[in-house]
């Protein structure tokens, strides 16, 4: 199963790199998100707040890329007729779809760097990281957790044709509830439990704490715990949804 996962990650990244639409998005979007961070909070005079906003925008982009990668890739597999073939293979579907989400998250990890770089070049956002080691670990931990959250969403894409649109629709709610656009403390109390179960909340906190100086390790730990929980839920959903798709005959619908 490990070779299938590694090859899957490599080939899905390779395939995305050959799509002009995906490529232009990965180049242009970080500039847009860096601009959002700069103008949204109007924090020109507060370098720490400016960096924090840039990091929030970067994690927003990571989540968007995972959603688009997982939903878009499955939609594409259905359209190009490979979904049936990967389901017909003896490898569990989790090891087929997981790499698609991880590939999306790895592109998202790159997008964090690109967003911060554009922020520094265009808007003088200070990229000063207080804890470089924790920062270097927090980014892949965040990518893994966000990718595994994408796996849960991807499970529904196996079942429903319209899941691509559903996936796209989750972008804004997750940005808000995870505290990427505005601090969680601004949100109503009843929303907070939802924030706690979403990977971008902890991923953003881990990266932010490592960059600004704080205690990132508990947040990194939460990213890893959530990754395992998401993997268990996503894997179980995929087994169940694959069975339902076989019963309904919905794998090939285009």
């Amino acid at each position: 199963m490990i070779p299938a996962i590694l090859t899957g990650v490599r080939l899905h990244m390779k395939q995305a790199s050959r799509n002009p639409f995906d490529l232009s998005g990965v180049i242009v979007w970080p500039i847009l998100y860096a601009s959002i961070a700069y103008y949204l909070l109007d924090a020109k005079n507060d370098p720490r707040l400016l960096l924090s906003a840039s990091l929030g925008a970067a994690v927003m982009l990571m989540w968007s890329l995972v959603v688009i990668a997982s939903s878009g890739a499955l939609e594409q597999q259905r359209w190009q007729g490979t979904l049936e073939l990967v389901v017909a293979a003896p490898t569990p579907l989790t090891a087929v779809i997981g790499p698609i989400c991880i590939a999306g998250a790895l592109v998202g990890a790159y997008a964090i760097g690109a967003t911060l770089t554009w922020g520094a070049l265009l808007f003088d956002v200070p990229v000063k990281v207080e804890q470089p080691l924790a920062f270097a670990i927090a980014i892949p931990a965040c990518a893994l957790a966000v990718g595994m959250l994408g796996l849960i969403m991807a499970a529904t894409f196996v079942l429903y044709r319209a899941s691509f649109h559903l996936g796209i629709a989750t972008q804004y709610p997750v940005w808000i509830v995870s505290g990427l656009l505005v601090p969680i403390s601004f949100l109503p109390d009843f929303v907070r439990p939802l924030s706690w179960v979403l990977a971008p909340t902890w991923g953003f906190r881990a990266i932010q704490e490592a960059a600004l100086g704080g205690t990132p390790w508990p947040d990194i730990g939460m990213c890893l715990v959530l990754s395992l929980v998401y993997l268990a839920i996503g894997g179980s959903c995929l087994v169940a949804f694959e069975y339902v798709a076989r019963a309904r005959g919905s794998l090939r619908l285009t």
Partner: protein
């Protein structure tokens, strides 16, 4: 023990239409189908579009569940032991779909080799030998999107054989191929059969089924209407002679009049390019040609041929009477 055992399998598809007043519709794709395929056999499944051929293959490759009845592949139940079946069978379908177009053929084969758990030490040699088999050696690093349809179809075959499956499902593999490409693919299929593979083949092309298959089942409206060797099926119309008459712009009422001519057992119409070709079945020895041409006196007619029945004639007769 048979490699495929299908017993009284039905498959229904449910769909809903309407926005506010949702109405459920049920389509019965398979209605109580039973058959077996023995090890090493090349078994053909013939039928018109929508007859249930692909549904049957998808049940056997574990992509669909039967609504009722039982199906076993290589001794494993398709409902409960799907994963054990998947590693042992290969599935190839016709057409342009089913490949990662932006990747090379080599990348496609590497990925599917991993998905089918080909040991890493064997992977390279296996891929090389299959590229040789399907004559894509030297082109394997090119993107699949640049391939012709025939090359894509050959790549499909290579993909389906990566894990050296005991049983191969070929769903209309020659569809859309040019005559040369289709012939080469038929030769590949025949070579695989000679090498001992069990193959279940669906096709629209009768000469293909006649040339390749040891046994054939004809399926229409979700039910098997005949099963047997090509010779057995031809015997359905064996006591007939076929008269082919090329016509242009013939009317339905004229065809009805032809059916009433003494000695005529059936009339079918095929469109070939600009022409309509009447396929008239008559009893051996009955001279119906003169009577047919008399009825067609007002129509534009071309070539007239009298010949022995083929598998296609048997197929048309079986499907029409289903």
């Amino acid at each position: 023990m048979p490699v495929i055992e299908v017993e009284d399998v039905t498959r229904r598809y449910r769909s809903r239409t309407g926005t506010f007043r949702r109405r459920a519709t049920v389509v019965e794709a398979l209605r109580g189908v039973s058959f077996t395929v023995e090890r090493g056999e090349l078994f053909g499944l013939l039928g018109p579009n929508g007859a249930g051929k692909t549904t049957m293959i998808k049940i056997l490759t574990t992509l669909l569940l039967p609504t009722s009845g039982s199906a076993r592949v290589l001794g494993f139940d398709v409902r409960r032991e799907a994963r054990r079946i998947r590693g042992r069978v290969g599935y190839v379908f016709g057409g342009d779909r089913g490949l990662y177009d932006r990747l090379s053929a080599l990348d496609n084969l590497r990925y599917f080799a991993d998905l089918y758990r080909v040991a890493p030490r064997d992977r390279r040699a296996r891929i090389d030998s299959l590229l040789e088999l399907v004559e894509l050696k030297g082109r394997e690093r090119e993107r699949v999107e640049t391939y012709s349809r025939g090359m894509k179809q050959r790549l499909h075959i290579a993909r389906g054989l990566l894990h050296d499956p005991e049983l191969l499902f070929l769903d209309e593999p020659t569809i859309g191929l040019d005559p040369l490409g289709a012939r080469e693919l038929r030769e590949t299929i025949a070579a695989l059969h000679d090498a001992g593979k069990t193959i279940l083949l669906t096709t629209h092309y009768m000469y293909e089924a006649d040339a390749l298959c040891e046994r054939i089942a004809v399926i229409a409206n979700g039910s098997f209407v005949a099963t047997g060797t090509p010779l057995d099926l031809k015997a359905v119309v064996g006591d007939n002679t076929i008269v082919e008459i090329e016509t242009f712009g013939i009317r339905d009422e004229t065809i009805e009049r032809l059916r009433k001519i003494p000695g005529v057992k059936g009339v079918g119409v095929e469109t070939r390019d600009q022409a309509q070709v009447l396929l008239v079945q008559s009893a051996v020895g009955a001279d119906v040609v003169r009577a047919l041409l008399n009825e067609l006196a007002d129509a534009v007619t071309g070539k007239v041929v009298t010949r022995e029945p083929t598998l296609e004639d048997a197929y048309v007769e079986l499907v029409r009477s289903a």
